[in-house]
Amino acid sequence: MLQLKNITKTFNQGTINEKHALNGIDLTLEDGDFVTVIGGNGAGKSTLLNAIAGVWPVDTGSIVIDGQDVTGLPDFKRAPLIGRVFQDPMTGTAPTMQIEENLAIAARRGKHRGLAWGVNNKEREEYKERLKILDLGLEDRLTAKVGLLSGGQRQALTLLMATLVKPKILLLDEHTAALDPKTASKVLRATDKIVNEGHLTTLMITHNMKDAIVHGNRLIMMNAGKVVLDIKGEEKKKLTVEKLLHQFEVVSGEEFASDKALLS
């Protein structure tokens, strides 16, 4: 479903702030793979997702989604293939627009936008059904402005928007990191449900090692712009936080550099 070959990206090339963010990433995701991504700060996790989403062009390598080479396309042209949920709950939704308008915009991802009404009655009913999945009471507030919602509600809505048109690949960039623990677990439950029911190919970054182990069928660990660990199937099911930390030290030759990952 997704093939990355030798992806590199350097920011601020030739300056004192030069940063080799991605150092030759090779990664293939099978259809339906739910991959959790962990790694310390600056390991290149978000950069990897942004490369796939097309936020900026990569320096070398190729990105193929569902057989289509998208390396030369900007983000909005890749959008038909990709669903995205961002770390900041404010990023994924339009605050001055209604819940149903946000959903309607998402329902037209990858489709021609013309002079038909932006939201029609038939889709309103569908949105109500979909919003019920989130279990946040949003199904009764279709015409509320999204700016009035809490961060957790907005993040859950973004998740729904990212999957309203079935994406070939779903990118979740630490989408629960900015939420309180209770809301975070609610959004994670909704994520599991939506990903499993839709059989969605997914990349989910998380700072939380336990979440990374519990969710998904495959786990990759990044360090210094490279994939340093790739664990799947039965082996992943047997993982523990201690084993993971040990493996990281073996592979990278240093201690895992994020306290947040250990404490949470």
Binding site: F86, I105, R109, G110, V119, M161
Partner: protein
């Protein structure tokens, strides 16, 4: 002082109100254009100072050439759309900041507007021309025609910004990251929004020149500020009257109300025999005050000065 008040005739002020309303109506169309950029796209577009004059110039010249006045409004619309698109392309394709792109187009339009009028600073439309869309010689008729145009435009805007593409423009104005993630070509939406905005402004310029009987290359100078004043006055009044019930059509209607109120105040100042040249100063002060209100309100709730005071209070105890 007594002599000053004795010289003021209130009936005279009332008599001037219809003309103020007529002016307010076509400036309301201009303000609707400003609303598209300033409120929907979140861009302060200064192109409008040029396009307002462009609309007036092309109408005057074409009417003198024998065109039907209504058709010249269409010509103004087309030129306005083009000028707005130029600003949009300068901004999106060449990476020039929006405010600077607008200034550049506006600056270029000054020459173009002069060229349209054969390099004369103004062009008078013969007062004997018939079938003008609106004319200062027939204030009541102008009120009616312009009122109908305004209602049709508000209906069109309400419809358009409710369509899929209108929704995409609104999304672009409120959250670009989200819009791109949902596959919206935000550059195209900005160009489209800027074009539509300036199209409306040029239409207002065309009506303005027909109403006053002449086109002037300086007609649009400072019009962005009048447009902003109308948008802001309209919002304040609309929120005061309708509060949360104010929907999109209501917002648009109150933009026009804001423009009319602006010209009522303008008329009042003239009636009070104050120097009309001071009007620009008053307008700027009013716009600055209203733009500052949201910021000052948030500061009243929480500021360093307040935090400092609270801290001193605590120590005193």
């Amino acid at each position: 002082m007594g002599a000053y008040f004795a010289s003021l005739n209130f009936l005279d002020f009332l008599g001037r109100l219809p003309a103020a309303a007529a002016q307010g109506l076509f400036w309301g169309i201009m303000a609707l254009g400003v609303y598209i950029t300033f409120r929907i796209l979140d861009i302060a577009d200064l192109t409008v100072d040029g396009t307002f004059a462009t609309g007036g110039a092309i109408s005057a010249v074409l009417i003198l050439k024998g065109w039907t006045p209504w058709a010249t409004v269409g010509a103004a619309l087309v030129l306005g759309l083009l000028a707005g698109a130029v600003t949009g392309l300068l901004h999106t394709k060449l990476g020039i900041p929006a405010i600077l792109a607008g200034i550049l187009t506006q600056y270029a339009l000054y020459s173009i507007n002069l060229a349209i009028m054969s390099f004369k600073a103004n062009t008078a439309i013969s007062s004997t021309t018939r079938n003008m869309v609106m004319s200062g010689l027939d204030v009541n008729g102008s009120l009616l025609v312009c009122g109908v145009i305004v209602i049709v435009l508000i209906a069109l805007m309400y419809w358009f910004f409710g369509t899929e593409i209108g929704e995409a423009i609104r999304a672009t104005g409120t959250n670009q990251e989200m819009s791109k993630a949902q596959g919206i070509n935000i550059d195209r939406m900005k160009v489209l929004g800027l074009a539509l905005s300036n199209g409306l402004v040029a239409v207002a310029g065309s009506l303005s020149s027909q109403y006053s009987g002449f086109a002037d290359v300086n007609a649009g100078r400072g019009s962005i500020v009048i447009g902003l004043a109308a948008v802001i006055i309209g919002e304040v009044v609309g929120n005061a009257i309708l509060g949360k019930k104010l929907n999109f059509a209501g917002h648009l209607a109150f933009v026009v109300v804001g423009a009319i109120l602006y010209y009522v105040v303008y008329t009042l100042i003239l009636w009070l025999k104050m120097n009309p040249n001071l009007m620009k100063l008053f307008t700027a002060i009013i716009v600055a005050l209203f733009l500052a209100v949201p910021y000052l309100r948030s500061r009243a709730k929480s500021s360093f000065a307040k935090a400092g005071k609270n801290s001193k209070k605590m120590e005193a105890k």
